[in-house]
């Protein structure tokens, strides 16, 4: 446990309310709580670009002129439709883990003869276990977080693929024809004309997706990561003086109220940021938003 920050915290029983709270909110377990907010931000920071990459690949595949690739892309997009995302989360976390272990098992223990699935067990050789049984605690936590990031990226990648696919189709066809008339190849048209223009069409969808991603972060809790929901439940529960120097009643309601406010703040900040981004992207575009900006600057 981390030593208390304030010197007067040595005997919490005699403190007044303000000092009691300043000690309570800076004790060891609360630092884990604050650290878990960083986990959420880290998840967002890693997942957003990776999911965007998945989405871009998915959208490119769906646009492909090679049918099997196009089916793959469209199937990836469509499969998320109609099924609750939380079911995907719960599924992928186990499925990915088993897929990794199975692959390692095949490579590392080729002479293993027993079946991997025995009744209700999934058995791989010791060397194929992820993480290895001997590895330290932080490895287990990192692996869990890593699985969560991939799961989030797969699910949100499909959402992003759908949005980007729509954005690519929304670019006026005349633009592409003009590019062709200038003698650009299909690849050049795609990278030099289509991709720079599609973002403004895709941005409303992508910003919606960003909001949904923010609001999906508490689902980390279901994936077994010690995130803010986990700590809010832990810390908020009734504490008796037997186990802690800071006994209190059931405060889980207040902890979750705090989380609620945290998320509302995140939403508000994102809304403002995305509005700014939209203005930037609309600059010089042949859309009503771009037209509005042009009038503003020339007037």
């Amino acid at each position: 446990m981390r030593p208390a920050i304030f010197s007067f915290c040595s005997d919490p029983d005699v403190l007044d309310t303000f000092r009691w709270f300043s000690c309570y909110l800076t004790n060891g377990v609360h630092w884990s709580f604050y650290l878990s907010f960083l986990k959420v931000l880290a998840l967002l920071a890693v997942t957003a670009p990776v999911a965007l990459g998945f989405g871009f690949a998915g959208a490119m595949a769906a646009r492909s002129h090679f049918p099997p690739l196009s089916w793959l892309g469209k199937g990836y997009i469509a499969v998320v439709r109609g099924v609750p995302d939380i079911a995907f989360f719960m599924f992928f976390v186990i499925a990915l883990d088993q897929a990794f272990e199975w692959t390692r098992h095949k490579i590392l223990c080729p002479d293993w003869t027993d079946p991997i699935r025995q009744g209700n067990d999934f058995l791989v050789c010791q060397a194929a276990k992820l993480p290895l049984g001997s590895s330290p605690e932080w490895m287990h936590e990192t692996y869990g977080f890593f699985l969560a990031v991939i799961t989030f990226s797969i699910v949100f990648g499909a959402f992003a693929a759908n949005v980007l696919f729509g954005g690519m189709r929304a670019v006026p066809h005349a633009q592409l024809e003009t590019a062709e008339a200038y003698g650009m190849s299909r690849r050049q048209t795609f990278w030099r004309v289509l991709v720079p223009q599609m973002w403004v069409y895709a941005l409303p969808g992508l910003s919606n997706l960003w909001m949904v991603l923010i609001k999906a972060t508490p689902l980390l809790f279901l994936l077994g990561v010690e995130d803010i929901v986990y700590w809010a439940r832990e810390l908020g529960g009734t504490k008796t003086s037997k186990f802690t120097a800071y006994p209190h009643g059931d405060w889980r309601m207040w902890y979750f109220l705090f989380l609620l406010v945290f998320y509302l703040g995140m939403t508000r900040v994102s809304e403002i940021g995305l509005e700014k981004l939209m203005r930037r992207l609309a600059h010089g575009q042949a859309t009503s938003g771009g037209e509005l900006l042009r009038k503003e600057t020339t007037a």
């Binding site: 998320v80 109609g82 995302d85 079911a87 186990i94 908020g236 059931d250």
Partner: protein, 268 residues
């Protein structure tokens, strides 16, 4: 045990009828199908009840948000912002612990800590906020000519709202509202994974699916079954809402009656 017997035993397990003990090992495909299907009763219950009640609050919120009266507008805006701006998962947790602490001094809150009422209220507020925003958007995009025509006929106030504004709002909002309904049904799977307890293991479809996945350590059977049920449910919702859409658009000439475009945002 035959499959028919399993259906008799577990078909209504999620609402407490039939066999009391869940199967513990050697799960058959039939058992998994039956129990997960039985859990769907809860998802359908939550979805339909929240939609049916949320619709009216959503209309009120949309009208409130579009109102020029600040005392109507601000509360509606805040309500919509709070429920759309925070995760449903956290809302469930907060509501559960709120009801739990209200229960001690006021015993009338007893029922609110169980899922059938407590979670339903959260879903009701949540879908009202999302649909309210959709209706508000539609309300703002009613063609000016429609309102002018109503004015020319001497309509005002309630009769103008009921005969012109409201039907047009619904007509414009319906595709997006269909989308919201689909995602509301998906959101119902969160109920038993937040704080609300599944009393006597009476849970929803995802609750049973994860029960099987935990017991067999094999996610490749129960989750696809769950997916199957939800795709079915989604198709039913699209079908049902499509019928309503047809009725809402029945006065339009055939050429204008464009097929309902499901611009599924995939996420709300």
């Amino acid at each position: 045990m035959s499959c028919l017997q399993t259906i008799q035993d577990y078909g209504l397990r999620s609402i407490g009828l039939g066999e009391r003990l869940l199967p513990k090992s050697d799960f058959t495909l039939c058992e998994q199908f039956t129990l997960i299907g039985s859990g769907m009763i809860w998802n359908v219950y939550f979805g339909i009840m929240a939609l049916a009640t949320g619709f009216f609050l959503a209309t009120a919120l949309a009208v409130g948000k579009a109102s020029s009266n600040i005392w109507l507008r601000k509360p509606s805006e805040w309500f919509i912002f709070i429920f759309r701006g925070s995760p449903l998962f956290i809302q469930f947790f907060f509501a559960y612990f709120l009801f739990l602490s209200l229960k001690k001094p006021y015993p009338m809150f007893d029922g609110f800590t169980s899922a059938w009422l407590g979670a339903l209220i959260v879903l009701f507020f949540n879908t009202a906020a999302y649909s309210g925003e959709i209706f508000y958007g539609a309300l703002r995009s009613i063609p000016k000519g429609d309102i002018e025509a109503a004015d020319a006929y001497g309509m005002s106030g309630w009769s103008r709202f009921r005969r012109v504004v409201w039907p047009t709002t619904l007509r414009l909002a319906w595709p997006a509202y269909t989308n919201e309904a689909i995602f509301l049904f998906h959101a119902t799977t969160l109920v038993f994974f937040s704080a609300f307890p599944a009393w006597q293991q009476r849970g929803d479809a995802l609750y049973y699916a994860s029960y099987f996945a935990d017991k067999t350590f094999n996610p490749f059977v129960p989750y696809p079954i769950l997916a199957f049920y939800f795709i079915l449910l989604t198709l039913v919702v699209i079908g049902g809402f499509g019928l309503v859409n047809k009725r809402l658009n029945r006065h339009l000439p055939a050429a204008k009656k464009a097929k309902m475009q499901f611009r599924l945002n995939l996420a709300r």
